[in-house]
């Protein structure tokens, strides 16, 4: 599983190997958040394989998970 941090989250420590018990976005956020509590904030959104995720979503080995802080385009 590939984990990406964008914007100000890019300063966070990279994620190590994900434990086998982490099988959805909610569990992934909780696991990463133990060392990186800013990821638990509701303003941080998640995209899986280039699609925004609302609520919880199951994760597979090959998935790419992106953590997105509030955006500032334009």
């Amino acid at each position: 599983m590939r984990i990406l941090f964008f914007g100000r989250l890019g300063d966070l420590a990279p994620a190590g190997p994900v434990p086998p018990g982490v099988r959805d976005t909610g569990a992934l956020r909780a696991w990463l958040g133990r060392d990186r509590p800013e990821l638990l904030d509701a303003s941080i959104r998640i995209a899986v394989n280039d699609e925004m995720v609302l609520g919880n979503r199951a994760l597979d080995e090959g998935d790419e998970v992106a953590f997105l802080p509030p955006m500032s385009g334009g």
Partner: protein, 152 residues
């Protein structure tokens, strides 16, 4: 004309191209967003635009399609930079061509509001007082909510 690119662009050249292809338009509205040389009283030496490449293109295409569905348009253009920008450089160019001016104005306004709040870009300003990540302002979110009602 939809593009997300690291290369600088000349907005006036984009407008010339866009206008030449907008046959039959009675109205062309456009917008250029530029890197300002100061913010909150601090000098800005540069702007770094982080982005999520594929999600960005997908989001911008969806915003352009939504604008075309919502307003009576002939064409719409969105060109957005990423990477390292200098003060005075254009960040974004948006244009809309329509039979009448209200649709053209509203479409550009709408696209900008959605880009500000939904397009996966993150801006870091290099200022005389350090580097600062920017986020959409409260007024950007308030502007975005103007479009949540049904189109008039």
């Amino acid at each position: 004309m939809i593009a997300v690119q690291a290369e600088p662009f000349e907005a006036a050249v984009l407008l010339a191209d866009f206008s030449a292809r907008a046959a039959g338009a009675g109205a062309i509205a456009s917008f250029i967003g530029l890197v300002r040389g100061e913010n909150d009283g601090a000098l800005v030496s540069g702007l770094e635009l982080d982005h999520h490449p594929r999600l960005t293109e997908r989001t911008i295409e969806a915003i352009a399609a939504d604008a075309a569905a919502r307003f009576d348009l002939i064409d719409v253009a969105i060109v957005h930079r990423h990477g390292a920008l200098a003060p005075g450089e254009a960040i974004v160019f948006v244009a809309a061509a329509a039979p009448h001016r209200r649709a053209a104005f509203d479409a550009v306004d709408y696209v900008m509001d959605r880009l500000k709040t939904e397009a996966p870009f993150w801006k870091r300003e290099q200022r005389s007082d350090g580097a600062h990540w920017l986020e959409a302002r409260d007024s950007d979110h308030a502007d975005r909510r103007r479009w949540e009602a049904e189109p008039r």
